[in-house]
Point group: C2
Amino acid sequence: MPTRTALKTSLLFDVFALSQQVGTLLQLAMRDAGMRPSDYAAYSVVLEGGPLTLTELARQLGMPVTTAADYVRAMLARGHLRKQPHPNDSRAQLLALTPAGVRAHRTANTRFERAYRAIIRELPPLDEADAREVLQRLTESAARAADRFAERLADS
Amino acid sequence: MPTRTALKTSLLFDVFALSQQVGTLLQLAMRDAGMRPSDYAAYSVVLEGGPLTLTELARQLGMPVTTAADYVRAMLARGHLRKQPHPNDSRAQLLALTPAGVRAHRTANTRFERAYRAIIRELPPLDEADAREVLQRLTESAARAADRFAERLADS
């Protein structure tokens, strides 16, 4: 197996290869989970971080609001999501899972956990907390860089 | 902005949010690049690591061979890729970019570099080399975990 470091690729390529490889793992582990791995991520954010606004959901998922809105539409169509009034902002709505949404997440979770345990087993010598900190800092760096681009496009 | 660490999410969620956020950055920076960011990754591997086999391409991209074959088909259809005989294995073929493929990659590269410089500018206090090492080790962990799943499925 050729090592990836032998290529003159970049940090951004490394992110691509990692996400593809994790995608491959999740496809295998979640093939009978009843939802796609990306859906599972969206359900998880609403369950763990909700009730929350569409903007907050998008930020947590690292997506533009328009993309997060596609996920929300699909979850609503499945009867897995409900909207409730925002207590402090009459123009905003909060998103929460319905009982059926919580059950769908729980089913998928047992499959997701297989993938999670499998990668944790293969992690050493890397430390999980250290790796998570690097991933989260990189995400924040990418978010700031994307915000700058969006500002520049809005000004041009 | 809510911090991501506040959620009881996992390492795999962090990878998802990172890849989405980098995808958002690349969409903005490469909107007039003539190819999608994921195509650019495939062209880059063939250019930097080629001539190479389909299996090697798939491994570098972190993809199943079937998915990498879709990229190869599209590149062949655009006249950007050519197949040549493998010098040591008469059953295998090597993939290389055509001159038109190299030109398409070069055009996209100027846009890609804008995204790369933008995230590097926002990286501190994270060190680029340290971050790349973590990403590459995580990719190898995910590859080993996926291989185990694939073996188990083949045996069952």
